[in-house]
Subunit: 170 residues, 2 copies
DNA sequence: ATATACTTATATCGAATCGATATATTGGAG
DNA sequence: CTCCAATATATCGATTCGATATAAGTATAT
């Protein structure tokens, strides 16, 4: 997961660790810890997928090797966006996926979100009609869950619409 | 974290592992894995904070002991809702916090979300005005991050308003 | 009746990730 | 010219995840 993210980010330009953390954090869905990042960099370097070139000061600017580029392609092809993070990471690199496969990725995600929405609504209704006192704060949590899933679907639908017009129109 | 959740949920009624997972999942922000849950139950049992009573079939219905109840109170008092999950978990048990302290918890969270929103907007603007080609999908990710943080603040403001009227009015 | 498949339920393993902490260096404010 | 914040790399133990195993109960189909 993190390896995939690193390879994808380094594909575009060499970066050092700290910079990778920032670039990933800027995407807004993963504030990766150093405790994950630096071991991952050493792991990838040992595997020969990235290599370090001394940068300014103590910085180690890493860049992808050719095997690393291939590895990234493999990971991109492997399907399975189970978790939210998986999907968002894949989306960040969707530009590297063949245009004709992109829509399917988005639509699969939409199905998953629809399912989640049904579950969230069921939980919410279940709690509301419960015999027990429906705690104010927990009801708020469940409502938040419903609303944010709805908002996510709406956002995704915009993306899907954009994707269709990009494919059809242009 | 998980220990806190378990103690809080068991406080209200005895439940077995599977049921705890469902109850926690229903809140909508944490689909805890069995690989976390069952070890946590054994850990808590060994510490004497919960005890198992045989339920129907293979079920083990756990209930909180008195030391467990005290431990929960301690954890509830310890401040520090750093992560999203921490906050939402605390919110789930906010009913156990003295009414006069509740508003502060919500307002601290609001401040944290405001900060995050500024960060997300900065990233978004930064990417848009970048010299590099601003990737369609990454822009979408950043926009999602901005929007969902805004929505979260709006949701929280409703909660805060409700809290104020509950304290002042009733 | 009986095979098939799904849900419930507990459990364990290794790997990924986190959060805290340590330690320098650099750049700017007072 | 000193102090403080941001930059940057690194490591540690603990937590959490994801996959997998197992098995009992329950429903559905043949």
């Amino acid at each position: 997961m993190l390896d995939f993210a690193i390879l994808g980010l380094l594909r575009e330009q060499p970066r050092h660790g700290y910079e990778l953390k920032r670039a990933l954090g800027d995407l807004g869905f993963w504030q990766v810890s150093f405790g994950s990042l630096y071991p991952a960099l050493r792991r990838l370097e040992k595997q020969g997928f990235i290599e370090a070139a001394r940068g300014e000061g103590r910085r180690k600017a890493y860049r992808v090797t050719e095997p690393g580029r291939l590895r990234f392609g493999e990971m991109l092809a492997e399907s399975g966006d189970d978790s939210d993070r998986d999907f968002q990471l894949r989306l960040a690199f969707l530009g590297y996926v063949e245009p004709e496969s992109r829509l399917a990725v988005l639509e699969d995600r939409r199905t998953a979100l629809q399912d989640r929405l049904h579950g969230a609504r069921r939980s919410f209704r279940g709690a509301r009609s419960s015999t027990r006192n429906p705690d104010r704060y927990r009801m708020a949590l469940m409502e938040r869950s419903v609303r944010s899933t709805e908002a996510d679907i709406a956002w995704l639908d915009e993306l899907i619409a954009g994707e269709r017009s990009a494919t059809t129109g242009a």
